[in-house]
């Protein structure tokens, strides 16, 4: 089965980036309320998914994504809602399942979970985990999560949490199974892990050339086959911002991008971004989808086939951007970019 067998899905992701008004940051509380409005707007703009990535910092005050998603669920009826990502390594798989199964109940089956090992690592000291253990934590906890989502009583033992013996975990999923993805930033082990457990693959492409990730898609497809799994969709998560013109989009995005990358640099290994670096990242070979609707649509339509992807989630906003600019970006992404991407991809398939 090839990627063409899956419907095209377009989503919005946020990390709860702190907004600014008139150049001054708004409160964490206001940022969270703004995210609810962004979620509602995502449905109104005709998009398919809204995801919230767990973070624990002043720039991204968003530790309880499921609570915020529940508020959005109450005000929407169609879009799917998920984590993007849940840092499973520093969480408890049982509680993650319970929270998202609850969200699934509240939203009438619209919940999804994207599991990540966590490139944002601030949750480790916060919850008392050792960074040096992250591989084992993620490996074991993903394995337990896979057991839980199968449904039925769970028997499991490992080193990272108390054992479970024939344990019923509620609330049960009403119909079908919870949709689970694994977010991959560059570890082949995570690609293999997703395939082994039958989880979909979400490629998190935030630096360098998107084309560089194509071998991971190939590895995923071959690994699914090797493990005897049915074909599953591949998604792409990348930062973006849409405005009337390329110039406007870049002018709105660049200062916020420069500031946050500069602040995160020391702990994440990002060099201080220069205008030249930014030009490359927003250019045709870079991972940032920043520009006019036509430019952004062209780039999405170019890379989805290269990456064998049928889903694209644009991570919108950056700390310090204004709510009106973000809202406008979501609206243009939904009403102009996505229809154009569908047109371009349809033409490619027909041609």
């Amino acid at each position: 089965m090839t990627a063409a067998s899956f419907p095209l899905v377009f989503g919005v992701d946020t990390f709860g980036d702190t907004n600014a008004e008139n150049g001054r940051p708004v409160s964490h509380a206001q940022t969270i309320r703004n995210v609810v409005e962004q979620g509602v707007l995502t449905e109104q703009a005709g998009l398919d998914f809204f995801g919230i990535g767990e973070h624990h910092t002043d720039d991204f005050p968003m530790p309880a994504a499921d609570v915020v998603l529940a508020a959005i669920a109450a005000r929407t009826s169609r879009i799917h809602l998920g984590s993007a990502v849940t840092v499973l390594s520093s969480d408890d798989p049982v509680r993650v399942f319970q929270r998202y199964s609850t969200l699934n109940a509240l939203s009438n089956g619209r919940a999804e979970v994207i599991l990540g090992r966590g490139s944002s690592i601030e949750s480790f000291p916060l919850f008392g985990f050792e960074l040096a253990d992250y591989e084992q934590l993620f490996e074991e906890k993903t394995e337990l999560f896979a057991e839980i989502v199968k449904g039925g009583p769970v028997t499991w033992s490992g080193k990272t949490r108390a054992a479970l013996d024939d344990q019923d975990i509620v609330p049960h999923i009403e119909a079908g199974t919870l949709k689970v993805w694994i977010g991959v930033g560059g570890s082949p082990y995570s690609v293999l892990r997703a395939a082994r457990h039958g989880f979909s693959l979400m490629l998190a492409i935030i630096g360098g050339s998107p084309a560089r990730f194509a071998p991971y898609s190939s590895l995923y497809r071959q690994a699914l086959e090797k493990f005897g799994r049915e074909a599953l969709p591949i998604g792409v998560h990348s930062p973006g911002h849409v405005a009337e013109t390329d110039e406007q989009a870049r002018a709105e995005f660049w200062p916020a991008y420069r500031d946050i990358i500069t602040r995160l640099g020391p702990s994440r290994g990002f060099p201080v971004p220069t205008p030249g670096f930014f030009e490359r990242e927003v250019g045709p070979d870079g991972p940032l989808y920043v520009g006019s609707p036509e430019a952004v649509a062209t780039k999405i339509a170019r890379y989805m086939p290269v990456l064998d992807a049928t889903r694209f989630d644009m991570k919108i906003g950056m700390p310090g951007m204004s709510q009106p600019a973000i809202s406008k970006s979501i609206e243009m992404y939904g009403t102009q970019v996505v229809p154009r991407v569908r047109e371009l991809l349809g033409a490619a398939v027909a041609g």
Binding site: Y189, V191, R212
Partner: protein, 232 residues
């Protein structure tokens, strides 16, 4: 193709032939960076084996797809035959590597002590010597060379260029054993990078996470300027 193009192609082909390397390389680690090194090394013509602490079957598919030309082997077999052993593991895994495994070998240390990312490690939490010197002290029977650590794995992947390309970037190489440095320098050039020789392992400090070239792809001249400015 006209006659000139054919002639050019033949000449380029023979040049390519001359540059082809035939080192035996063991890459220990199959996470983010291991597959990139293995792919570039195999592309350069080297005989490349990738190994982890576990059964090679587990990584066979990813080596095949991500590092065409390389093969997955048991660590002990991969290292036994190797001219160069590349430590492509996170630093907190280093202490799990048996020192006897790499005894007598040229070892490339591409690891970083980066507490913000990988957590604190008592052995490496010191300012008086470079992290590679700590590595070398634990591996007294190996000849340790520091390089490949100061660009990210996707930068190594994307910045690799043939010799003479104006866009080719430089990597620093530091080591106490001249012969080992020589063989590693040749290897690094084959991966697609110019080499700037830094001196002994102590100078490896300049390549570390808080140093002037970390995460910055620079051409040879800019690289030399960046490290020179600090060295003065």
């Amino acid at each position: 193709m006209n006659g000139v193009q054919v002639q050019n192609a033949v000449e380029m082909g023979s040049l390519e032939q001359e540059r082809r390397q035939s080192l035996r390389v063991a890459v220990l680690g199959a996470g983010h960076v291991g597959p990139v090194i293995a792919r570039l090394a195999a592309h350069a013509g080297n005989s490349v084996a990738v190994a982890t602490s576990r059964d090679p079957d587990e990584i066979e598919l990813s080596v095949q797809v991500l590092s065409p030309g390389a093969g997955a082997r048991w660590a002990v077999d991969a290292v036994a035959d190797a001219d160069i052993v590349v430590l492509a593991v996170p630093l907190h895994r280093f202490e799990q590597i048996e020192t006897s495994l790499v005894a007598g070998k040229v070892v490339v240390d591409m690891m970083n002590y980066w507490p913000e990312v990988n957590g604190r490690l008592a052995t490496f939490d010191r300012r008086d010597i470079s992290s590679s010197e700590v590595v070398a002290r634990r591996l007294p029977q190996s000849r340790v060379v520091k390089t490949l650590n100061h660009l990210g794995y996707h930068q190594l992947d994307e910045e690799s260029r043939p010799a003479g390309d104006p866009e080719r970037k430089a990597l620093g190489v530091a080591g106490d054993d001249a012969a080992a440095v020589q063989v590693v320098a040749t290897f690094v050039e084959g991966l697609g990078f110019d080499v700037v020789r830094m001196g002994g392992l102590a100078a490896g400090r300049l390549l570390e996470p808080d140093g002037p070239v970390f995460g910055r792809p620079l051409g040879r001249a800019d690289f030399a300027r960046a490290v020179g400015a600090v060295a003065r």
